[in-house]
């Protein structure tokens, strides 16, 4: 008899079930208010790590949110949620990236122009001449055009402000390699922006 069964059920089991449900609802609400406010930051990082591939960036953000939600019980409220989420996103990206980086990329052996464009610029204020005329989109396109092994250190260092040691740990490469990749990546960026600025007639 149904009514009998209901009565037989221990009272605390019923209460327990309700508590569980509301705990779950509370967890979800808490997660939404604490974590989802950082969607822009996550998407921004994902966009640069994936070189502007919006579909891949969205997948990366979704994976990150899912992992974060599953680990939400481990997150200490009041600590830096944004930093925690960014770390999950970075690690997710790097793990995926490593799978495709088994063999050294051809770019390592490519002849790279390592000179600073400074030498080629004539004028009272070369920096003002070159950089102040470039718009955000042009700079972002130049960053996206870098090969992965150069772009990732630039994103982590210049856009995220991480130290060489942190980048070394994340990418699992020696600090010396971080240094040399940053050096070459930045010189490439300069070259690219310089060439672009000339083509656009920003500089002569």
């Amino acid at each position: 008899m149904p009514w009998r069964a209901r009565e037989d059920r221990p009272a605390d089991a019923d209460t327990g079930h309700r508590v569980e449900q509301s705990d779950d609802r509370r967890k979800k609400a808490q997660f939404e208010s604490e974590a989802l406010v950082h969607l822009d930051a996550l998407y921004g990082l994902a966009m640069r790590l994936t070189a502007g591939d919006a579909a891949r960036a969205e997948d990366l953000v979704q994976d990150t949110v899912l992992k974060a939600y599953r680990a939400w019980d481990d997150f200490v409220l009041g600590t830096n949620c944004r930093a925690w989420l960014m770390t999950i996103l970075r690690n997710t990206f790097i793990n995926e990236y490593r799978k495709t980086q088994r063999q050294p990329a051809a770019v390592e052996f490519e002849e790279v122009q390592d000179r600073s464009v400074f030498e080629g610029l004539k004028g009272a204020d070369p920096a003002e001449l070159l950089f102040d005329r470039l718009i955000d989109k042009e700079v972002i396109q130049a960053i996206d055009a870098l090969p992965d092994e150069f772009r990732v250190p630039v994103v982590l260092s210049d856009l995220e402000g991480l130290s060489y040691q942190e980048i070394s740990d994340i990418m699992d490469i020696p600090v010396g390699t971080v240094k040399s990749r940053l050096f070459r990546a930045r010189r490439r960026l300069q070259q690219k922006l310089y060439t672009y600025a000339r083509e656009m007639g920003y500089i002569s």
């Binding site: 930051a41 921004g44 979704q62 470039l134």
Partner: protein
């Protein structure tokens, strides 16, 4: 006060360390050497200034990107399905 004049590093040594210096990654000793060099070297100072400007410019682009409403919807749907 230490009045002993430190031996000046060469332009080449300074230039090689430009990004480590600007990134704040040099150890105190080297950091001082580079700083002392560019303070007085009229060839290196504008160069360091140029590189600093370049990095500031890249950094100011930051990670600005607006997520789409569709992404937000996808994320919220995903959370809802997790039940």
């Amino acid at each position: 006060m230490n009045t002993k004049k430190r031996e000046m590093i060469s332009c080449q040594d300074a230039v090689e360390k430009v990004y480590e210096y600007l990134d704040g990654e040099l150890e105190v000793d080297w950091n001082d050497k580079v700083r002392e060099h560019i303070e007085v070297c009229k060839r290196c100072y504008p160069y360091f200034d140029f590189e600093r400007n370049f990095l500031d410019h890249i950094r100011s682009k930051g990670l600005r990107a607006e997520h789409s409403e569709e992404l937000e919807r996808k994320v919220r749907d995903m959370l809802r399905e997790l039940g």
